[in-house]
């Protein structure tokens, strides 16, 4: 079995509260593994410990108990970050730098240099759709553009693992869809993704597995289909069905001992509707 991309074992993190004896437990005995190539969604309400767990994985915070490792390398070791690209929530970069300068700066922090770095930076700007903004300072970027440059800097050293904290926060639906498509593209390239998001619809679209944190504990984990499928219910979607046919089906269902819980017309989700309308009118 190959080494997992992320391995968290019995992780607990407590924070001291100033002038009080008690301590705040942000993460409680958390254990989980993310195999290489998987897109894993870490979900939970605000204050559930997601960000703390993520910071420990990235070596930014020291655990009180337990261990975390990235591709087998202890997160507390600097070299564990060689394989990680991180996009923080609402990323703020140096506003005085241009998009290209930002990528070159982060590339140099990964010991990259020369024309290879510059070429790679330009190619990443193209990937995230910012090739025309290469020489613009980040101070004038919209939230969506900042999110995209954040994604590009996360990819600068070709990491095997991407940690994305609310990658679509504040981004318009079209931008959000582009980021979703990028995540799917990473997945197809075999890049492991740890995704924290409140947009459950998007998580459902891109994640292979999810874990739900609540009060610092992992309360549910598994494949999305397994977690949300209602085993005792069946959905039948018909096209051009007459009222008579529907009545007949309902009658047969009752006769067969089933209960018809609901009936109605399926609807496209609002995101699809929005995109269809805006693309049609643009």
């Amino acid at each position: 079995m190959s080494t997992p991309a992320i391995s968290i074992r019995n992780l607990t993190k407590e924070f001291a509260i100033p002038f009080k004896k008690e301590r705040l437990v942000a993460v409680r005995n958390l254990s989980l593994e993310v195999p290489e190539g998987e897109v894993y969604g870490l979900l939970g309400p605000n204050g559930s410990g997601k960000s703390t767990a993520m910071k420990i994985v990235l070596g930014l915070v020291t655990p009180t108990e337990g261990t975390t490792a990235i591709f087998g390398c202890d997160s507390r070791r600097v070299e564990s970050r060689e394989q990680v690209g991180f996009l923080p929530e609402n990323p703020y970069f140096y506003k005085f730098l241009t998009a290209l300068e930002t990528l070159l700066f982060f590339g140099k922090l990964c010991d990259l240099r020369g024309s290879a770095l510059k070429d790679h930076a330009y190619s990443l700007l193209k990937t995230v759709g910012l090739e025309n903004a290469a020489d613009r300072r980040l101070g004038g970027f919209s939230k969506g553009m900042l999110q995209r440059i954040g994604m590009a800097q996360a990819l600068i050293q070709n990491p095997r693992l991407l940690v994305l904290d609310e990658p679509t926060a504040g981004v318009d639906p079209a931008g959000s869809r582009e980021i979703r498509d990028l995540i799917l593209q990473f997945k197809s390239q075999g890049i492991t993704v740890l995704l924290c998001s409140h947009l459950l619809g998007q998580v459902q679209e891109v994640c292979d597995r999810i874990g739900i944190l609540h009060h610092g504990s992992l309360i549910k984990e598994g494949r999305i289909e397994d977690l949300i499928t209602l085993e005792n219910q069946t959905q039948l979607v018909l096209e051009n069905a007459s009222p008579a046919l529907l009545a007949e089906l309902e009658k047969r269902a009752r006769e067969g001992g089933a209960t018809v819980i609901g009936e109605g017309r399926p609807k496209a989700d609002l995101e699809q509707f929005f995109l269809r309308v805006t693309q049609f009118n643009s």
Binding site: F15, K55, L58, G59, L60, V61, T62, V78, E79, R81, E82, V84, F86, P88, N90, P91, Y92, F93, Y94, F96, L97, F105, F106, G107, K108, L109, C110, D111, L112, R113, G114, A116, L117, D119, H120, S123, G150, Q153, Q157, N158, V163
Partner: protein, 294 residues
């Protein structure tokens, strides 16, 4: 084309250089060099103000104002820029993005500090050029006036006397010590910012340290003199004398300004003291920052 996979090195001068360059760029693009204009105005103003004085007095006032202003401006620049750096990176979360890359915390601190050192160096060099330029210009004016009004028999001696009062190369060690003092104070400011919760707190504490540093010599002399104070007071005084840098040592610049030739041994002793304290503060800053929860 993708860059080739780098091999991680525990210490990378390239990463530190990238951080230092970025810090310098940040401060330059914040237009901090505008204060040089203020400095130039001060020096030129003092030059105009003293036109009715004797040439010795004119040059002395220019040297006092010039070197004093270089000292204050370089200290202030180092203090304010350093106090901003770390809290700003923390508040803007740029620190997370940087430290999520394979960058050890000591490299981050070192890079930031070197960026400030470079900035102070450029600022001191620019101010020194303005100062030397104004002094040189005034010297030329006085030389020309003297050449017109002095009898030929006394001219050579008069011109030599003017040249001896104007810009002398022995001012350079003084400027070097001013730079070192600003660097030392900036490092102490960085140390405070590694545990401070705000830039305002960092600035306030740094100003207090600066003031204490100028009276620290008195505490040390009291400690070494073994006065009749209680042991507790003596320990406190000893701590103050050890923890705070003796900034009074750098006031030797005042002696240099009046033309006193400072022995090189003394210059190197003060330099050694400044470098040692800078290194110790840097080390303590690293220890504090490496244990800080982000």
């Amino acid at each position: 084309m993708n860059p080739s996979s780098p091999v991680h090195s525990l210490f990378s001068t390239r990463r530190i250089a990238a951080l230092a360059h970025n810090t310098l760029l940040e401060l330059v693009r914040m237009r901090v060099f505008y204060f040089i204009l203020l400095f130039a105005l001060m020096v030129i103003g003092s030059s105009l103000f003293t036109v009715n004085f004797s040439f010795q007095e004119q040059f002395q006032v220019l040297k006092d104002v010039g070197l004093g202003a270089i000292s204050i401006f370089s200290w202030l620049l180092g203090l304010l820029c350093t106090a901003l750096l770390l809290p700003k990176d923390l508040e803007d979360r740029t620190l997370y993005t940087i430290l999520a890359k394979p960058v050890p915390r000591f490299e981050y601190l070192l890079g930031k500090l070197l960026g400030v050192f470079l900035l102070i160096g450029i600022a001191v060099a620019l101010m020194s050029l303005v100062f030397a330029g104004v002094l040189g210009l005034r010297e030329q004016q006085v030389l020309a006036e003297t050449a017109r009004s002095t009898p030929p028999a006394d001219l050579a001696q008069a011109l030599a006397s003017i040249r001896a009062s104007a810009f002398q190369w022995n001012l350079l060690p003084g400027i070097a010590l001013i730079y070192l003092k600003a660097v030392l104070c900036a490092t102490f400011t960085l140390l405070i910012s590694t545990f401070a919760s705000s830039s305002v707190f960092t600035v306030l504490v740094s100003v207090v340290v600066y003031l204490v540093g100028h009276v620290q010599g008195i505490a040390r002399e009291y400690w070494l003199g073994g006065g009749d104070a209680s042991p507790l007071i003596k320990v406190l005084v000893a701590l103050v004398a050890l923890i705070f840098p003796d900034l009074q040592l750098f006031n030797i610049v005042d002696e240099i300004a009046v033309g006193t030739v400072v022995p090189m041994l003394l210059f190197w002793k003060i330099t050694g003291f400044g470098v040692l304290y800078t290194l110790v503060y840097m080390l303590v800053a690293q220890v504090v920052f490496s244990t800080r929860e982000l």
